[in-house]
Structures are given as C-alpha cells and as structure tokens.
Symmetry: C2
Subunit: 164 residues, 2 copies
DNA sequence: TAACAATTATAGCCATGGCTAACAATTAGT
DNA sequence: ACTAATTGTTAGCCATGGCTATAATTGTTA
C-alpha cells in the first residue's frame, strides 16, 4: 500500500506496455525479442525497460522467460490503446489522413494528449459518424474542400445568401 | 557548408527557440532570466540550452548578454509557432476546448505532429470557418451534441429519412 | 549428450536535459 | 566608488533511455 495512486508513466514506458498488450493479444505472453522487433529497439533496451516495469508492478517477468502484464499493467496498457485508437481514427476518418501516417501520429500523440482533448476527439468522431446528412454531410464537404481547395456549392450559396 | 540540411530539433530545443522568439517579439532580444521564467526551468538549464543552440547556429549569445535568434533560428522558431497556433486554434475552435487546455496540448503536440496532419488541421479550421451554414453549421451541431449528448434535430430527421 | 544457434542478460558507454551549489559579472543604491 | 542585489555561469550530479560488446542461458540437433 505504498502506491502513488494515479501515476503517470513516461512515453517510453507506455510504449512498452502497449506493445506487450498487443503481443499478448489475450492469449500467450510476450517475448523480449518480440517486443524488441515491434518497437524497433535493441534487446538490451527491452530488458532494462521490463526490469523497470516489473519494479513498478506493471509486468511479471522471470529471467529468460515470458513477459506478462499484471492487472494494473493491463489497465494502463488498455488506456494507452484507447488513446491510440481514438487518435488514429480521428486522423484517418475526420482529417482524411492515410492509415500509415494516422498510426504514426497517434503513436506520438497518445502520450501527451490531455484527458479533456481525448474525450473531445472521441465525441467528435462519434458525432460525425452519427450525423448522416447524405451528400451534404460534414466529411464529404470537408473532403471536397481538400480536393478542390474551394468550398462546395452548398456552403457558397448559403454564405452569399447570408451576406446580402 | 557542413549543415545536415533539413535537420530536426528536439522538443526541448524547439521550446527554447519558440520562447526566445516570443520574448523577442520583433524588437528587443531575450534575457536568460526571461526564458527561464517562461519555460519554468532554472537558469542553468537555459544557459546550457542556449550554448547548444548557439553551437548549432540558431542563436547568438554573448556571455552575460542578450540572446538573439539567427536567421535560421528564427525560421525554425516561426515554424514551431505556426504549428502551435494551428493546433491551439484547432482545439479551441473545432473541439471547443478552453483556451488554457488548448494551449497546453498544443505545446506538447507541436513537437510531434507530422507535416501532413498539420496541413490537414489547418485545412480543417479554414473549412469550418469558411463554410457558414448559420444555425445548422457544423460547429453548432457539434456543440449541441457535446452539451446534450444527443444529435440535433436536423441530423436525426435526415438520418431517419435515409433509413426507410 | 555435447556442441551450436538463438535468445536473453549484464556491464558499461553515451546523449539529453533537468537540477543544486557555488562562483562570477553586472547593475543599482547610497 | 563601494557594496549589495540581481543576473548569469560553471561544475558536477542525477534520471531516462538508447546503444554495443560480451556473457549466460536455453533449446535443438547431430
């Protein structure tokens, strides 16, 4: 019972937890070599990170063996993944960015976004997906603007009407 | 002529450049103590950062004197500021996040966002500001959804119409 | 089962970027 | 002009998180 309660973890440690959770994928545990490959760091970096995480009670790891998340580690990892998914969906679906770049940006931003902004990003996606306005819906108009550099007709017409 | 051409700078160094540019604000140069206060780091941290920046040709600094950006330093700083402004406007105007949190998030994300995503964020703001649809415009609908947790009428009606 | 390959760990280095404590220069007050 | 306060620098510490080189363990296979 000496926990600092709602701790924050470094981007690096969050990356390790996320990678381990993805590798475990429900079933088996993760190997050091797998984590190393996934995060594109060398194995000694993984070993020392895992050591640190295990001292913090986030993973269990026996020498030359598997790496597994503890309940707490899993909780943290799932939260990172939640942030990641929200951001990558936002980039891909709302901003119309290709999947690869969307993932890359999500990977970096997931560590720094505030809880409030995260919730708003999620609301935003919910909203644009739940509000289906056919041809005139928001994503379509936005994409038209992206492609043509000009506003679509609907916007222009109404804009003019307002002005006079 | 030994430059690595389109270098990338660390978040920390970008923060220093940004702070110096803001403090110089066109006219006078910056003092170490000002940078220290603005970034909430101690003065020795500033001294060593400034030393590094001057080795990289981004600032000019004479002992016990002022810190000024070089042309190159100014170029980099302006780019950081551009990213910052785009992001904070996006958070504040598009996601309806209060100014303070918008600034905080922009401060962190400005260092990691990809050029593509940045451009899209800018386009996004341009779009929602340029497409004025009165009561039924996108920001209004989104804010309605934020406040009520329910889609506004326009969305619901059309959504139903589509289904049958 | 002995030896080799693959995997993992350890030791120890390096860069980054904070910090404190102590010292030095500059500026201001009298 | 002298001294005190302010400002800035230096030296040196620490944590983080990479890395290489080398050692240890495990698993496989002849």
């Amino acid at each position: 019972m000496k926990e600092k309660v709602p701790k924050g973890y470094s981007p690096s440690m969050e990356d390790y937890l996320e990678a381990i959770a993805m590798l475990c994928g429900g079933r088996r545990a993760a190997r050091v070599s797998e984590i190393s490959r996934r995060l594109r760091v060398k194995m000694p970096s993984v070993t020392s990170a895992v050591k640190k995480l295990s001292e913090q009670g986030l993973v269990v790891h026996e020498r030359y063996g598997y790496v597994e998340l503890t309940a707490e580690g899993d909780r943290v990892a799932e939260d990172v993944i939640r942030r990641h998914k929200a951001l990558s969906r936002f980039f891909a679906e709302a901003l119309d960015i290709n999947q690869e770049v969307a993932e890359e940006d999500a990977c970096k931003m997931e560590h720094v976004i505030s809880p409030l902004s995260l919730e708003r990003v999620i609301k935003f996606i919910e909203f644009i997906e739940a509000c289906p306005l056919g041809e005139t819906n928001f994503p379509n108009r936005y994409k038209y603007y992206l492609e043509h550099g000009e506003l679509p007709e609907e916007c222009l017409e109404r804009g003019l009407r307002e002005k006079e």
